[in-house]
């Protein structure tokens, strides 16, 4: 094992003690393994359903790994690298209905990470009603600089109030620079790395795009 790999923090989480598969997440600082139940994932998320059901890659994997020893016989699924380990754990706990592990309030950054994962696995409806509990304390931050990602969060969790507010706000402060979306904060253009579909950004700023074209 190389030196770089040894420095990773290993974390094992039994989200479902009787789980039949493992999700492996390797980021630059952490190597996390989540033991989960594929059935629960399929119930909660259409993305997992496609990945794990009969004709998906999982079947081939399980048939090919029969020869390996009992410990590693669990099917391992690699998670997308850029996901936040804590946020992924929270979403997985909720997909398994284990609410005793869920915090009552989370920071804005964590909320964003959870929204990214919910968008990726298309499971925003499964984390009801926690999304509302978490969003409520951050509601006052919508139009503050630095909280532009609210638009994405509102879109993922389907909060029309915030979504309308943010699109209206962005159509005022947003600009397109080299076909990238940015906002003007204190006279400077700040580029945003938001995961929104292009169509929303295009609709938000018809004036500016028209000007540029």
């Amino acid at each position: 094992m190389s030196k770089a790999q040894q420095q990773l923090r290993d974390i094992n989480l039994d989200i479902c003690p009787y789980g039949d598969m493992e999700i492996v997440l390797t980021t630059s600082i952490i190597h996390a393994t989540y033991r989960v139940s594929s059935h629960q994932l399929c119930l909660g998320s259409p993305v997992f359903r496609v990945m794990l059901e009969a004709n998906g890659p999982r079947r081939h994997q399980s048939s090919s790994s029969t020869a390996s020893d009992a410990h590693s016989s669990l099917f391992q699924l690699k998670a997308a690298k850029e996901h936040d380990p804590t946020a992924l754990a929270t979403v997985l706990y909720l997909l398994h209905g284990r609410v005793e592990e869920i915090p009552e309030s989370i920071t804005f950054d964590n909320l964003l990470e959870i929204a990214i994962i919910c968008d990726y696995y298309d499971c925003a409806a499964t984390i009801r009603p926690w999304d509302e509990t978490w969003m409520a304390p951050h509601r006052c931050l919508t139009s503050k600089p630095g909280y532009e990602s609210w638009l994405f969060i509102a879109w993922v969790f389907g909060n029309q109030d915030v979504f309308g507010e943010m699109t209206k706000y962005f159509s005022r402060i947003g600009v397109m620079v080299d076909w990238e979306f940015g906002v003007i904060v204190a006279g400077k253009v700040k580029r945003l790395d938001i995961h929104l579909p292009q169509v929303i950004i295009g609709m938000t700023m018809p004036n500016y795009t028209n000007d540029l074209c």
């Binding site: 059935h39 119930l43 209905g97 609410v99 309308g164 159509s171 169509v199």
Partner: protein
């Protein structure tokens, strides 16, 4: 007269000097504000800063119709007035600064100058923009309300198979597609079968853990575990194997409430309604109590309870006591026990709540409420009476 006038004009000159000083200080203040908000433009923008300041002052004077060149008016202004006006101007400038930092100026030359920002008449136009509608961007179109979503979900999920021999409705509900056991509920009107996953039930509820745990004495259960393939009972074609172990429920639960509870235990909350009827809430609380799983249902029950809070003391909602007891609503529990100890009566060894005096109507409390609570309520009442009589006799 002239002397007084002269004196007066001297005083005026003094005042003007004073005002000038004041304005310089205020301008400095504005400049500092400006620098703090926009350091880049400030470097080469001192002129613009002056410009803004004077635009602001000009505006303020004009709005108060006290333009300083007007000699007649000037004579009537006290220094305090001018300081007030200058302060007004400052707020004006501050506001325009704030607006600028929000609006930003985008011109074709690519400059974001404060002057551009101030002059941008875009502001008005932009205020008229309509917010976008979220529904047009959702991946899947959703039904108009959660209520109808829940109803359509129920329609899709419940496969009404047949009327059985004794005229009961028979439901087959798949809570978990790959479930390994079936829960069978037979009430007087409904015969329902729920396909569930035993792991999920055991994780959420101690009662189910007792039924289905590895240490469970139920022979069928041990067998069910042993026979299980690593793939949790899946056939090659991804359908579940027939002949699940069936868990018969002896208790008469409400079928819909049980379905809701099982859905939450399996984290299938996508279509759950935001409001439930009060009767359903009571049935859900009864199931929570029986299977000891109120912790898992907490976020949902909390939401449903909130909509019924106004009915706490309304006659006909006596079951609130039971709901508050199961779901640990301390405040409601205290209010109700206090109320019931006042208007409760004991008849034929049963504790009744008087709903209305004329005509006399008393109601039994829910059968789910444990004896201890019902026992305490009359005791509390006796204690109150005793205290009252004690006080009236000896004081």
């Amino acid at each position: 007269m002239t002397y007084a006038n002269k004196n007066n004009s001297d005083a005026m000159a003094d005042q003007r000097a004073k005002i000038g000083q004041e304005i310089v200080t205020i301008c400095g203040e504005v400049y500092n504000k400006f620098e703090a908000s926009d350091p880049i433009n400030c470097k080469h923008g001192i002129k613009e800063c002056d410009y803004i300041t004077f635009v602001g002052l000009h505006k303020a004077f004009k709005s108060k119709k006290l333009y300083p060149t007007d000699a007649k008016l000037q004579a009537h202004i006290t220094p305090n007035d001018i300081v007030e006006i200058a302060k007004g101007a400052i707020t004006e400038v501050k506001n325009s600064l704030q607006r600028m930092s929000k609006v930003g100026g985008y011109s074709h030359s690519g400059c974001y100058g404060p002057a551009d920002g101030l002059i941008l008449s875009l502001q008005k136009e932009l205020n008229g923009i309509e917010p976008l509608q979220l529904t047009s961007f959702l991946k899947k179109p959703v039904a108009s309300s959660t209520r109808s979503r829940w109803e359509s979900f129920l329609r899709n999920e419940s496969t009404l198979t047949s009327h059985s021999i004794d005229g009961n409705l028979t439901f087959h509900l798949e809570v978990c597609k790959y479930g390994d056991i079936e829960i069978v509920l037979k009430t007087t009107t409904v015969h329902a079968t729920y396909v569930v996953s035993s792991h999920q039930l055991r994780a959420a509820s101690p009662t189910f853990c007792l039924f289905l745990g590895t240490g469970s004495g139920y022979q069928e259960q041990t067998q069910c575990r042993q026979e299980q393939t690593p793939d949790l009972g899946l056939n090659a074609d991804n359908s579940y194997q027939g002949g699940h172990y069936q868990l018969q429920l002896k208790k008469e639960h409400d079928p819909t409430a049980l379905f809701i509870v099982l859905l939450i235990l399996h984290a299938r909350v996508q279509a759950l309604p935001k409001k439930v009827k009060f009767d359903n809430l009571v049935s859900i609380a009864a199931i929570c109590d029986y299977y000891n799983c109120s912790a898992v249902l907490q976020p949902w029950c909390g939401m449903w309870i909130d909509s019924w809070r106004p009915c706490l003391e309304t006659p006909g909602y006596e079951d609130w006591l039971f709901v508050s007891w199961v779901l640990r609503e301390d405040q409601a529990f205290q209010t109700l026990t206090k109320k019931f100890s006042k208007n409760g009566i004991v008849e034929d060894n049963e504790f009744l709540i008087v709903v209305s005096e004329e005509p006399k109507n008393a109601k039994k409390l829910s059968k789910f409420i444990p004896r201890e609570i019902i026992g305490i309520v009359p005791a509390q009442r006796r204690y109150m009476l005793y205290q009252y009589s004690y006080e009236s006799i000896y004081t």
